[in-house]
């Protein structure tokens, strides 16, 4: 005889410091937004150094930026935007308690994250082969090689930090998909999905700024 399990009652899902599930959800979202504010400042420092060096060595930045692959960078922007769409649908599936759709959408979002990382790795490899990675391997035939190298320091620091965030995001999505397949988020207990979604969309926002500022600077 199969064991019948009823969905857990709402009171079982609410931690004792909260009045109800609504308040618990609001607290989780507020905490995530505060974390995202600290992330804004984390990336903000890098954007600030980019701004200073861009104004100081504008002409060098235009020349160096032209060496980046716009097609790969632009494709990756589209990949992340579509992955955000899937993530938004995943949160919706969680709200409607559609378990199978939720698992599939989370896996689809993670897959697009993997596509992004694969394209990024192809790009990094291309940069390495073309001697654009800063350090002893770096070669620059144009004017002002040390400031050209500076651009690539900033490029690798910013895209590298972003790539770490995408990698963490993929891990979070896979764990969420596993938990979702076990029915952990049923009965209105989908805080983790919503918060994971906020993180994923934030990573998307960072790339929305990185793409024009790094790839599109020198093409006019």
């Amino acid at each position: 005889m199969p064991i019948l399990t009823s969905p857990p009652s709402e009171s079982a899902l609410v931690a004792e410091q909260f009045d109800d599930i609504e308040q618990q959800r609001d607290a989780a979202k507020l905490g995530m937004w505060i974390f995202l504010a600290s992330e804004v400042l984390f990336f903000g420092g890098l954007f600030l150094s980019y701004t200073i060096y861009r104004f100081t060595y504008g002409h060098v930045f235009m020349e160096t930026s032209r060496r980046l692959d716009v097609v790969l960078g632009g494709t990756n922007t589209a990949v992340l935007l579509v992955s955000s769409l899937l993530m938004a649908f995943a949160v919706r599936a969680a709200q409607l308690d559609q378990r199978r759709a939720l698992v599939r959408l989370l896996l689809g979002t993670a897959l697009l994250g993997c596509v992004f990382m694969s394209i990024k790795m192809v790009e990094y490899h291309k940069d390495y082969v073309e001697h654009l990675v800063p350090g002893t391997h770096f070669e620059w035939t144009g004017a002002d090689p040390s400031n050209a190298e500076l651009f690539f320091w900033i490029y690798f620091a910013m895209t590298g930090l972003h790539a770490i965030h995408v990698t963490v995001g993929i891990g979070v999505l896979l764990v969420l998909a596993l938990l979702a397949s076990r029915g952990k988020f049923s009965g209105g207990n989908y805080n983790a999905i919503e918060i994971g979604g906020l993180y994923w969309h934030f990573v998307d926002v960072v790339w929305v700024f990185l793409f024009p500022l790094l790839y599109l600077v020198g093409h006019r």
Partner: protein, 97 residues
Amino acid sequence: MEKVVDPRIYVRTCAALLVLLGLTWATAYVDLGPFNLIVALAIAITKALIIALFFMHIKGSSRLLHLAAVAGLMWLLILVSLTLSDYFTRGWVPLNH
């Protein structure tokens, strides 16, 4: 229960973002002088706003969340404006050594 959003809104949001991506890509190849940077930043800020409003549900969430989101930007503004006010005003006053 939270309000569940019409899926068509998400599809339209994503379509708008992809159109803006095409727009920023295309304008990068047109010489607008200093306006290239301004246009690129304006489009990026618009895209970020669209993502925050519709994908991150800032639209329709509580005032407290709006405040937390804006607070992050305020601190970023302080970071940028104070640092740039230093960098861009260096050398205005000659130092006597």
